[in-house]
């Protein structure tokens, strides 16, 4: 039976859904239930990773260290993971203290064509003896051959695996298969996939990735995450089992963990709103949905128009300022009566 390593970013990607306001009690409760279910890796932190708490991308209720400590105390068999984007996170200020708190797994992410930025952080974590993976975000924006070149960089830096992240939930299963297979065929390290559900395809894309040779898949309890949410982990675990994959996760206890998430974390179960669907079609980072809807109300424009324009301009995380710029342009056109 083929094995799949599950990495659960409920307490990291899910933080987007509550505007980075996860509490210590929520972190502790979910970490304990995920640990009990045998989830191999539990990822914790600000939605944009270590060191990202800011006005630009959201101020976190808790400091990174506090979240990690709360999770560490409740993870006895599951590994504690972190996610970081160089630029948000620095080695001395952020990564070193996190490793000192007992982090086991480090994921270092970049935009899908900027893997060079991950060299120092991957190298540092590796030198500290940690399990290190590279992540390519917004992977729908690059062709398979470019993704392979970027993954080869991460492999040379010391990453033990690479994860393609479909940050916008924009991919179709055949695209996932093609890209994952290219990596599996040419890399000497593990390949993983992190899906989002903007087009309702998160589970399908995850299965496509597994069938193409991916051995690492991500999912969050109840799909807890920004916008349309992530791959619902309890569904993924069940479907993988039906397909004959072994995740090592106890299904009943995973369903219990989803119940804990539903009761304690999730204010509302992720739905594919029209904005989320459009962000998937437009290829826009899922976490843009909330600020887009807010700005759209302020400027009295259609959020879907903002999203399509963001997609046309190939906006990526960190370029949230474009939302206001575009909303302003749309509002001006509207007031002039200019056809958009």
């Amino acid at each position: 039976m083929k094995k799949i390593l599950i990495s659960d970013p409920t307490l990291r990607d899910g933080n987007h859904a509550v505007k980075q306001q996860l509490t210590l009690e929520q972190v502790a409760a979910y970490a304990a239930s995920a640990n009990a279910a045998g989830v191999p890796i539990v990822e914790v932190g600000h939605g944009n990773g270590l060191g990202a708490s800011s006005l630009q991308v959201g101020m976190s209720l808790l400091e990174d260290g506090a979240m990690l400590k709360a999770a560490r105390e409740n993870l006895t068999t599951s590994k504690l993971g972190i996610f970081l984007i160089p630029g948000f996170a620095t080695i001395n200020k952020d990564l070193r203290p996190a490793l000192d708190l007992g982090v086991d797994v480090v994921r270092v992410a970049s935009h899908c064509t900027e893997a060079d930025t991950t060299q120092r952080h991957i190298g540092f974590a590796r030198e500290c003896g940690k399990e290190v993976y590279g992540v390519l975000m917004m992977s729908h924006m690059a062709q398979a051959d470019i993704l392979l070149q970027e993954c080869r960089k991460m492999e040379s830096y010391g990453a033990e695996g690479v994860i393609l992240m479909d940050s916008a939930g924009a991919s179709l299963p055949f695209e996932v298969s093609e890209k994952v297979k290219s990596l599996v065929d040419h890399l000497n390290i593990a390949v993983g996939y992190h899906a989002h559900n903007n087009l309702g395809l998160a589970v399908a894309n995850s299965i496509a990735a597994a069938q193409a040779g991916a051995v690492i898949l991500d999912g969050t309890a109840c799909g807890f995450g920004a916008g349309a949410g992530n791959t619902p982990l309890e569904i993924l675990v069940a479907v993988l089992a039906k397909y004959g994959y072994n995740t090592g996760i106890d299904l009943y206890k995973m369903l219990d963990a989803a119940d804990v998430a539903r009761a304690k974390l999730v204010e509302r179960t992720p739905v594919i709103s029209s904005a989320s669907l459009v962000s998937g079609l437009a290829g826009v980072f899922s976490a843009f949905s909330t600020p887009v809807e807010r700005v759209a109300r302020e400027y009295n424009v259609d959020p879907r128009d903002i999203l399509f324009e963001l997609g046309r301009r190939k906006a990526v995380a960190g370029q949230e300022d474009k939302i206001v710029e575009i909303a302003d342009e749309l509002a001006r056109k509207k007031s002039r009566g200019t056809p958009e």
Binding site: Q119, E127, Q149, N188
Partner: protein
């Protein structure tokens, strides 16, 4: 007073020279220039020559040409203060002339670091192709030049077929995808060899070509992205030693003192125009290598296969056939792998002060 880490180097130099000093007799009184001289290869050759000078009165002078010249960046600062060692700060790509007293030249300027090849393929290509052209052009103008060596790479062979035990200098079975930027280093080294042939033809340059395989020893940084380096680093950090894959890939490793001796011997007596493989012909599975390294510690370090969850991995092999060097020059491996590992670990421990 020499520190205990350096005593290891001294012992290694004396061991490799035992019974073989006069095989390097052609170095006496000569002036050797090494491009890329402050790297691993240049440092070890300089150590060996320093030992020959100190203990056997060879009177050889060494000039180390590098874009990173200062003593503080040189791996062995004690060499930088020697009167018989001179630094020349120069980018190999823009060499115009070399010192006129140079009689022997080793062109080794290039980085084998795959991280650099992946991140900066254009610079990788330019340093090798432009650098080789500039170095050989300058060499051709040296009035007293006796011998030159181009340090190529085993990667020019492409992937070794699993059915082939070892690659000889005539191996042509491997394929390189020249349309991929991932081939930047290997393809640039192939161009380098073609430049060597052209300079030999047009300028009658007395040049020999070597194709190094894999080495291990003191002065090699353990953060380099190579299996044996990573295994040692994992071991020194307390483990576990992590193998990416299932450990079935096969490699071979030559100890640094053997490497330095072979380089100099081939420089002096290798037939001009020929290529020589330099490396150990004894292959080992990475899994066995990791276990061997793990067993070198007082409490054996466990080994883990990571990265491929279903236990299967891609395997590859890279082993040199060194029959040409053995037959024509009588070269042999004097330091076995077990000793190489132990010496390297000991040096690293002494460098970090853990085993004084």
């Amino acid at each position: 007073m020499k520190n205990s880490a350096h005593q290891i180097i001294e012992q290694d130099c004396e061991q490799v020279l035992t019974g073989s000093v006069e095989q390097l007799g052609g170095m006496r009184g000569e002036t050797l220039l090494i491009t890329g001289g402050t790297g691993f290869v240049g440092t070890w050759i300089t150590e060996l020559i320093a030992h020959l000078n100190d203990h056997y009165q060879f009177g050889t002078r060494v000039k180390l040409l590098s874009s990173q010249e200062s003593n503080s960046r040189f791996m062995a600062p004690h060499l930088g203060v020697r009167k018989d060692v001179e630094f020349i700060r120069q980018d190999v790509r823009t060499i115009a002339d070399l010192p006129v007293d140079v009689t022997l030249l080793i062109h080794a300027a290039a980085s084998p670091d795959t991280r650099l090849h992946a991140s900066d393929p254009l610079r990788t290509i330019r340093v090798i192709t432009q650098g080789t052209d500039a170095a050989l052009a300058a060499a051709a103008r040296l009035p007293r030049l006796k011998r030159t060596m181009n340090v190529s790479s085993a990667l020019i062979y492409g992937a070794q077929s699993w059915e082939v035990n070892a690659m000889s200098e005539t191996y042509s079975g491997g394929l390189l995808d020249c349309s991929s930027m991932l081939s930047s280093y290997a393809e640039a080294k192939r161009v380098g060899e073609t430049l060597v042939a052209a300079y030999r033809n047009e300028h009658r340059l007395p040049i020999v070509n070597i194709r190094p395989f894999a080495f291990i020893g003191p002065y090699q940084r353990l953060d380099r992205p190579w299996a044996i380096n990573n295994f040692m680093r994992d071991g020194l950090l307390g483990g576990p030693i992590r193998i990416l894959g299932d450990g079935e890939t096969v490699r071979s490793y030559m100890y640094a003192s053997d490497m330095a001796f072979w380089f100099l011997r081939i420089l002096l007596d290798g037939v001009a125009g020929r290529s020589f493989n330099v490396g150990s012909p004894v292959g080992i599975r990475l899994k066995d290598l990791a276990e061997q390294i793990g067993g070198c510690f007082p409490v054996p370090i466990p080994v883990e296969c990571r990265g491929l969850i279903d236990g299967k991995g891609k395997r590859s092999k890279m082993i040199p056939d060194v029959g040409v060097a053995e037959t024509l020059l009588g070269l042999s491996i004097k330091v076995d792998l077990e000793t190489a590992i132990q010496r390297t670990l000991l040096w690293n421990q002494k460098q970090s002060g853990k085993n004084e």
